[in-house]
């Protein structure tokens, strides 16, 4: 074919030479290879995310070793019920997301849409609880750099009378709260991005996509979602469960 013949082709005539689903891009040999490549790429991205959060976890480890009493007192000021509820919501959302991938694989449109909506609701619920918790820390003057006051840590609390700290150790609770806001903030940002992306995918699924063999976007978004869940699975015990026995 010369360039004029090529240019004159329409989508239908061009593909008469090689039938393939519309979602298979031309630089891949098969749907399977395309799917595998996309998954590989998503995992590489997740590896960078592991290193990103890893740095924060490393800082946490060092400062917890240095200022342990401050970390204990800081941890006790968080609501255990909120952390446990959030962990539960995220685990269930990982289940619903896995079911959404299954619906895409088995090509059931209604199920795909239903499970995606469930995941969005659970993720949003998590963010609501988080917003309540952050507001609570603000009210209690636990926000470093904004309204922090060590006063609350100079005397013990009703549940934890031993949480009485000296003034300089009480000031160190700012390190704990800085890490708390940085780590849960980063995590919440990932949740917000996740819920937003999932909403876009939902709208596309509503229009008929992802139930005709094109599973990769749903599957790879699922990888992202599960990763964010795993980050929280570690954040929860490290932030909420320091020396919780009374």
């Amino acid at each position: 074919m010369d360039s004029h013949t090529v240019a004159a082709q329409t989508a239908e005539t061009a593909h008469a030479e090689h039938e393939h689903p519309a979602f298979l891009r031309h630089h891949f040999e098969s749907v399977e290879q395309q799917r595998e490549s996309a998954t590989f790429g998503m995992w590489l991205f997740l590896l960078t995310e592991i290193m990103f959060f890893g740095g924060l976890f490393c800082a946490y480890l060092i400062f917890r070793n240095w200022y342990y009493p401050a970390f204990v007192a800081g941890s006790h000021s968080l609501h255990l019920w909120a952390g446990t509820l959030n962990t539960t919501l995220l685990i269930i959302s990982s289940f619903t997301m896995a079911m959404a991938v299954h619906a895409s694989e088995t090509r059931v449109r209604k199920a795909l849409i239903g499970w995606m909506i469930a995941t969005i609701i659970l993720g949003s619920g998590f963010l609501c609880v988080k917003a309540y918790e952050w507001h609570d820390e603000w009210v209690e003057h636990h926000v470093p750099g904004l309204n922090f006051s060590p006063q609350g840590f100079l005397h013990g609390t009703k549940d934890y009378p031993d949480d009485k700290l000296s003034l300089d150790m009480a000031e160190k609770t700012q390190v704990y709260f800085s890490l708390y806001f940085a780590m849960t903030g980063m995590h919440a940002l990932h949740m917000i991005i996740g819920v937003s992306l999932l909403t876009i995918l939902l709208i596309q699924a509503w229009g008929g996509k992802y139930v005709e063999g094109h599973v990769a976007p749903i599957e790879n978004f699922g990888l992202y979602w599960h990763f964010v869940d795993i980050v929280w699975i570690f954040l929860f015990p490290l932030l909420y469960l320091i020396r919780r026995h009374q």
Partner: protein, 106 residues
């Protein structure tokens, strides 16, 4: 055998919803155990060790089953393993510095 111009063949394995349900329930049970264990006074640093050990088990279940790594190609498995290895290097090499000269600094 796949040659340079043939894509590797990887069977598409669809995990059953029943297995997802079992894994999900197991994760929730482990969450309960984590909270319960945290309320018990264990000797030394055991509370932290138990909490992190359970978190590692939960992570393994999510990675293998929810993220399909158990049923994935060698390439994917290698990539995940490489990620963990690099993360371990990040933590241990940083910590060796602090442990060797600034442990319990306060």
């Amino acid at each position: 055998m796949p040659g340079p111009s043939e894509p590797t063949h990887h069977e598409e394995h669809i995990v059953s919803p029943k297995l997802y349900l079992v894994i999900g329930a197991t994760l929730l049970i482990f969450t309960g155990i984590t909270v319960g264990a945290s309320l018990i006074d264990l000797p030394g640093d055991l509370n932290a060790v138990v909490a992190l050990a359970i978190a590692c088990i939960k992570m393994t279940l999510v990675v293998l089953f929810f993220m399909h790594v158990k049923y994935s190609s060698q390439l994917t498995k290698l990539t995940v393993a490489a990620g963990f290895f690099t993360f371990i290097v990040l933590i241990t090499m940083t910590m060796t510095d602090y442990i060797s000269r600034a442990w319990g600094r306060w």
